[in-house]
């Protein structure tokens, strides 16, 4: 059957059972959008965002929330370069994405044509792989391969650049059934000898801690992790990306680890004699000073990406493979443990943890807001955050009981992620309550996506933590730059309620603590897009924290 390149793309997306794409048309991708217009019906939803960065973040949020591959479609040149932040973001956090970019016709490639850019060259270091389609006959196999690479092994973003003439050319459509790339064979089965010696180590350990990372969520290994914890009573800390891999209200949950982590988690990891690290890459925000990172502990590291093992710290027992698989096997080799003494030590440390302390601050502050969210939504809502102080407050205080219920930009820390990611999340999980926690800084980095959300009738609740500052930077200026507040005061902020209303949504402003809960309740009943502009104290900081280059057990702001 002869099809045009663009028809081949649509047929491939159909084969991949893609339900939604996010994007913006432009000259070099016009043939594809034109084909969308001819399909009756189009086999997937086509969401127009207001900026390409919005499209890629939305696709990212969709992928994180659903576990499926997110798809975005943009034009050449500026359309393509606007994807850069989003691709880097997905790459750092191992999110499966496929991005289609239009390209100038093959005859013009390399000539500095209008809206031409070497997007495969630009995205080389921020994609898992990328392609430029040079023949219409290659399109189907490239797309098949792209989706396969994006979702298998360690997931990641894949970009496909398609020149305009290739979109228009005719070719045979044959969707390949199998992929055969000699250089791509992710290993799923762990080495059995290593698994056995890991089990032995676990049974011998007196002070073991499990570090559960984003890989646990990606591998859908949450039940397997829980089984092991129930059997062995080993306490669990989460990395930031691992939030949701273990219920935050479980008595063996210690909190988040790292620079902005929680006191209990950092102390326990520092005192441990065995670390069982699952699907984490020992980012510097996790380890603090590498030389002082859990000095007494042997480390078992399980990860699907062999390059992560030994990259930052030396590992006693490395196991490469699929976490679900390996934890299942590991479970067969370990027996029950009590760890009473160790858990007693945990209780003593926890008593000093400022995060678990009650406070009677009457102002509308972060903890109060997060706790109100817990009270109303009982850990059932999906929390999407932007980047900044509010993100860390959310990580500390919101209850996250399920995987894929805490969606946030981890590795890249891309401000502007929150709103578009919440759009992708809501489209992926229409029956879930989606809460977007954002700051006044980050929110304005993709504020135009209000149109996308409201036009598509997405009932998202935005909690805007408005302190009139780039809060996280302001805090760093306060602590480490002698309080010289340069370029962090967000003078000229708009009236966010009016902004949201102008787009057709609902806005509330809250200044006082007692008004927050009733407003939140009201917002949750609206079943529409609602923004709650929360005016929080400008000076509120995120504590405790670890000074850069310090050991993670030396935390500022504990007392």
């Amino acid at each position: 059957m002869e099809l045009s390149g663009t028809e081949i793309i649509v047929e491939c997306l159909k084969q991949e059972k893609i339900k939604v794409i996010f994007g913006i048309p432009g000259a070099a991708i016009m043939p594809l959008y034109d084909t969308f217009g001819k399909y009756e019906p189009l086999p997937f939803k086509n969401i127009l965002t207001r900026h390409e960065q919005g499209a890629v973040h939305a696709a990212d949020g969709y992928a994180r929330a659903t576990g499926e591959v997110g798809v975005c479609v943009v034009t050449s040149g500026p359309g393509a370069t606007n994807l850069v932040t989003g691709l880097a973001n997905a790459h750092m956090d191992s999110v499966p994405l496929v991005a289609f970019t239009g390209q100038v016709p093959t005859a013009l490639v390399g000539n500095d044509a209008f809206q031409e850019v070497d997007i495969t060259g630009i995205t080389l270091p921020i994609t898992k792989h990328n392609y430029i389609a040079r023949k219409v006959g290659d399109l189907a196999s490239i797309i098949k391969e792209a989706f396969y690479i994006a979702r298998t092994g360690r997931p990641g973003p894949v970009l496909i650049d398609i020149p305009k003439d290739i979109q228009l050319a005719k070719g045979n459509f044959n969707y390949p059934e199998k992929i055969n790339r000699k250089g791509y064979n992710p290993s799923y089965r762990g080495h059995i000898k290593q698994i056995k010696s890991a089990a032995m180590k676990i049974m011998e350990a007196k002070k073991p801690v499990i570090i559960s990372g984003g890989g646990v969520i990606n591998a859908n290994a949450v039940p397997e992790l829980m089984k092991i914890v129930i059997k062995t009573n080993i306490p669990v800390v989460n990395t930031f990306m691992g939030l949701g891999s273990f219920p935050t209200n479980h008595h063996l949950f210690l909190g988040m680890l790292g620079m902005y982590g929680q006191y209990t988690a950092n102390q326990l990891v520092s005192n441990a004699d065995l670390i069982i690290a699952l699907g984490t890459r020992f980012d510097d925000r996790i380890t603090g000073n590498l030389n002082q990172f859990c000095p007494q502990a042997d480390i078992i590291h399980i990860d699907i990406d062999p390059a992560e093992i030994g990259k930052n710290i030396s590992i006693k027992i490395p196991i490469v493979g699929d976490l679900k698989n390996i934890l299942q096997q590991l479970n067969n080799f370990i027996g029950g443990k009590e760890h009473n003494l160790w858990l007693q030590e945990l209780q003593e440390i926890r008593a000093k943890d400022p995060v678990s302390r009650e406070d009677n601050d009457p102002l509308l502050h972060s903890r109060f807001i997060m706790k109100a969210l817990n009270e109303l939504f009982k850990g059932e809502a999906i929390i999407v955050t932007d980047v900044g102080q509010h993100q860390m407050w959310a990580a500390h205080y919101t209850r996250v009981n399920y995987p894929r219920h805490f969606i946030s930009s981890g590795g890249l820390g891309a401000m502007g992620f929150g709103l578009p990611a919440a759009i992708g999340t809501k489209i992926g999980c229409p029956h879930k309550t989606v809460i977007c926690i954002s700051g006044d800084g980050g929110f304005q980095m993709n504020i135009q996506e209000l149109a996308t959300a409201i036009y598509n009738r997405l009932s998202i609740i935005v909690i805007l933590m408005n302190n009139g500052y780039l809060g996280m930077v302001r805090q760093l200026q306060e602590l480490f730059y002698d309080k010289r507040y340069v370029s962090t005061l967000l003078a000229g902020n708009p009236d966010f309620v009016k902004i949201v209303e102008a787009y057709g949504g609902i806005g509330f402003r809250v200044d006082k603590q007692e008004d927050f809960f009733p407003t939140l309740e009201k917002a949750s009943r609206k079943n529409q897009f609602v923004l709650i502009d929360c005016h929080i104290p400008a000076e509120e900081n995120i504590f405790p924290l670890v000074k850069p280059d310090s050991s993670i057990n030396q935390m500022i702001g504990v007392d």
């Binding site: 080389l124 430029i132 062999p306 390059a307 093992i309 030994g310």
Partner: protein
Amino acid sequence: MKHTIAILVEDLPGVMARVAGLFTRRGFNIESIAVGHSEIPGISRMTIIVSGDEKVLEQIIKQLNKLIDVIRVRDIPAENIIERELVLVRVHVDSLPIRSEIIQLVEIFKAKVVFVERNTMTIEMSGDEEKVGGFLNLLKPFGIREIVRTGRIAITRSSKNGLKV
């Protein structure tokens, strides 16, 4: 420590950029990179000389293995290796005695004169790093006009250690 890394890659556009880019962006020190067709259609062999300790080497190999177009990567131990580099060198020749002196050197080093002008000779020479270095050092006093080197290529001594698909 210098290491010789042998790589098999799919012969696709941009592979060289992917491999070289990886070294730059991860801060690995690359000394020489050479690539050419292998005995298998569609697959090329690369030889990369890098310096770094064992830890760096391990990361380089792991990161290279992550590239989709890379099929195999191996660090070849020095004792197990045959290395060659091809060099073309144009040397200044201003008198007949000097010409014969250079021709003597060419014979000793089993090099080859490939082009002669009134004032220069162009010589082709191949060998391991030491031999190439020694030869160029001896030519230096005559006045070297131009040097073009291929970078090193390497093959294992024994077929049982060879890098296969």
